[in-house]
Structures are given as C-alpha cells and as structure tokens.
Symmetry: C2
Subunit: 165 residues, 2 copies
C-alpha cells in the first residue's frame, strides 16, 4: 500500500462500511491505517504498539482484537494463520478468502484470488460432500526477488512486524 493510496483505501473502506450500515470508527480506522502502511503482516501486539506510539491514550489488547474482528468480518483485512498475523486486503470490494504467497525472506505477502485454486478446492470439497465455509490457503516460501538474492536462504530481513524481533 503506497502512502498516496492509503487515504483512498481508507475512504473506500469507509464507504463500504457505510453502505452496509457498519461504522468504521476512529479506532478501527487507526488499526486499518496501520495495516495499510505495509505489505507485511503485523501481529496484534505489533499493532498495539503502533497504536500506543501514535496516541497518548492507553490501549489494551482487547481494543486491538475487537477492531481486528470487525475488520475481518467486513473483509477489510485478512488473517494469516501460519503467522498469527493480519494484513490489509488489497481488494475489499467484495468479501472473499484470498490465497497468500508469504515470503520468508523479506516478509512480503502477495494476495491472490485465483480461480483455478478456488475451483480445485471446491471440487475436492464437493467430492467429500464437504461444505467449505472458510478456506485457508497460504504458501510459505521465497519470492522471486529473494530467490535471486544469494543470501536468500537464511534469515528474514526487512521491516519489523511478525517474526523479526
């Protein structure tokens, strides 16, 4: 999410919520903005720290988790299960479950919405008579850039977030 696009993204989220009769409150918007400034997933406690940094008011875990719950419900963010972390949704127009390419080198996450994957998952579920309600698809590996870099096989670099203390 680039800085100029951030405002636009937040406004789009605001509009979406209004349309649904939901309220993107100041607190929720702050959390969304924190996630919107990075393409890396952030843990709840990293978000908490960011909130504490940007305001004098004290903030506790439930506040963050409540905001995250709301944003998840409205498809404005996604949860990355394998990292216990959250990331802004890149196309929140319609609710969906994306697929995530998670680079263990640089920490960047690419969100996909691939029909072939969704079809194959749907087929497999159907074959078992299973009704899928929440698909979790996360590929952990190395992005193109990190594969090209010689040091790529070792520890992650890049900004703090999750996993890089």
């Amino acid at each position: 999410m680039t800085e100029p696009g951030l405002e636009q993204w937040l406004n789009q989220a605001d509009a979406l919520c209004r349309r649904r009769g939901a309220r993107l409150t100041a607190q929720r918007r702050r959390v969304l903005a924190i996630l919107g400034r990075t393409r890396r997933p952030l843990g709840a406690y990293a978000i908490l720290d960011a909130l504490r940094d940007q305001s004098a008011r004290s903030t506790a875990p439930p506040t963050v988790y409540r905001a995250l719950e709301f944003l998840l419900e409205h498809g404005l963010i996604h949860r990355i299960e394998s990292l216990h972390a959250f990331i802004g949704c890149t196309h929140p127009e319609h609710p969906h479950a994306g697929q995530f390419l998670i680079c263990r080198g640089c920490g960047l996450v690419e969100e996909k919405e691939d029909d072939r994957i969704q079809d194959s998952l749907g087929q497999t579920a159907q074959d078992s008579g299973f009704k899928s309600e929440r698909p979790v698809v996360e590929l952990i590996g190395l992005c193109a850039d990190c594969r090209a870099r010689p040091i790529s096989a070792s520890e992650p670099i890049g900004q703090p977030g999750v996993g890089s203390p």
Copy 2:
C-alpha cells in the same frame, strides 16, 4: 485411526524412522500413539494432559513440543494452523503437505492429497516466480454428516481435543 490399525501404524512409523536413521523413542512413540487414537486434531496441551494421565512421571510442555517437532519433521503428523493443533498423518510413506477438510461440527478432519489442488497452487506460485516450500491448505466447514444433521449449524460436539473445553 482404528484401534487394531494403531499398532500397525506405529510400527510403520518406526520402520520409516529406522530407514532414515532417526529414532522413534518411547516418548515420541507415546505422543504419536495419542494422536493415532483419534481423527481429531489435538492441541499440544491436550497431548500433554494425555501423557500425564498415562504415566506417573511428570511432563512439561517442552517435552511435548520436542516430540511434535520430530514427528512433523518426519512427516508422521501434520500441524493444523487454523486450530493450533496436530493430527496424525494418514499416509506417512512419503513426506508431503496434505490438504485438510476440518469439520467445525464434529471436529473430524479428513486429509487429502489432491493433484488438482497441488497443480493449481504450483501454477499460481510459478506465475509469481514464487517458490513454495510449505503450503498450508485448510478448509473449515461442515462435513457431509454434519450437514445432514439438523442441529449442524451450531456448536461442535464430539470428543475433547481442541476448542471443546
């Protein structure tokens, strides 16, 4: 995993480890057996409780996590990310990453190894120049049985494990 099949499964695991020069010790075998007795995922602390129940010796979390780490490395169990839990692998002959159909009704998990899914994931990764090292594919929903049952839409039933305190 049925009771008569359990011994056979454990022995297969033992043979696999031997072949690789790894040691399926008594402790590791105990953990594997606990997972083998259910088709439901178990949290680390549920396994810990089971261990404590079946022996007078005291046991601490690191013991369980070390055993789980070993079993994961050797493909004898899988980790279910969305549940923070572990489940026995149904076909450990070769290392692999399965796909999991997780019923939120009865808690049962079906492990798949579907070529269409794996192909579509591979395609998507390749399109992005991404090298997938650890795919996480978990579908949370309702199994055929639970869909058929009228009460199915509400809370989970069945044996303890994860999520049913």
